[in-house]
Amino acid sequence: MRKTVSVVENILKANDQLALANRALLEQHRTFAVNFMASPGAGKTSIIVRSVQALKDHFRITGIDGDIATSIDADRMAAAGIPAVQINTGGACHLDAVMVHNALPEVDLPATDLLIIENVGNLICPANFPLGAHLNILIASVPEGADKPYKYPTMYRGVQALLLNKTDLLPYFDFDVDYFRHGVEALNPGLAFFPLSANTGDGLDSWISWLAEQVSHYLTDRH
């Protein structure tokens, strides 16, 4: 005898459930976690290094980097003066909650106010794998072109701040800022937006102040 069983359940992947567990652990230790995502070469590590240099005397910062190979980015974070953990993903094109869960024991959470997680360079997959971070940040860059919000809507929708790096190169590229911003606004209304250059330092202060405010607010907000 056949019958239909009503289910109506959202497919919350195992990853998403573990992301919640990661978040609970971070909350337990009052550690504010930020997940940085971008295409390869957009400037994640450079912006992280500049942010660390500006904030490490105000907050205790630890870094986690995800890459398929090398410890180049964790080394750069360590050179900037913070403890850094390298995850080599073994070919996976994104960090997921499992990898972060397995890396968290290497982080001194009680001694960390701000956990900076640098994701694998990729505009597609990281958007589908929440890590349990408090903030998801996307770094776009001028040479990538202004059509990226239109081509990668899931990524642009899933972040709470957008940095546009390499603004010093605007004179050399055909980047329509209005077209870019129009697309971003439609996908993610009111998204915090920071045009800047990690290279020249232009616009960095606004971004760093905003980040510092998010961290301070979190640390002083007693539940």
């Binding site: 005898m1 056949r2 019958k3 239909t4 069983v5 009503s6 289910v7 109506v8 359940e9 959202n10 497919i11 919350l12 992947k13 195992a14 990853n15 597609i124 997959c125 589908n128 794998f129 919000p149 239109y150 809507p153 899931t154 929708r157 129009h182 697309g183 606004e185 439609a186 996908l187 209304p189």
Partner: protein, 114 residues
């Protein structure tokens, strides 16, 4: 992409409900998948065929109800789907738009043999 973890979850939810309903066999699944979820039907089918082997759900037919990504303009009320060129309202060019359909990712029901 990455349909494997998605299929693992569908299988887990399916077997839970099937066992609770005293099923001998699961014959079909009704999946509702929104356009914004980047889930590819063929990949789901591929992983399903492998993962469901040896379970109550082996051989169950997957039925995909695809929901288009739909935006509604907060200014003029126009509802539209993505055409690959516009994100803002094609009627009034406002960027005050909201996704009203397209994020769905759920198992609606399963058909069992009791």
């Amino acid at each position: 992409m990455h349909e494997l973890p998605f299929v693992e979850s569908i299988l887990q939810i399916t077997l839970e409900h099937a066992e609770k309903a005293g099923a001998r066999k699961v014959v079909a699944l009704d999946l509702v998948i929104g356009q914004m979820t980047s889930i590819v039907d063929d990949s789901v089918q591929f992983y399903w065929d492998i993962l469901s082997r040896g379970t109550l759900a082996q051989g169950a037919r997957l039925k995909f109800q695809r929901l288009l990504a739909l935006y509604r303009c907060q200014d003029c009320g126009h509802t539209y789907s993505l055409d690959g060129h516009h994100l803002a309202c094609p009627q009034c060019d406002s960027a005050c738009v909201q996704l009203v359909q397209g994020d769905e990712l759920r198992l609606e029901s399963i058909e069992i043999e009791a």
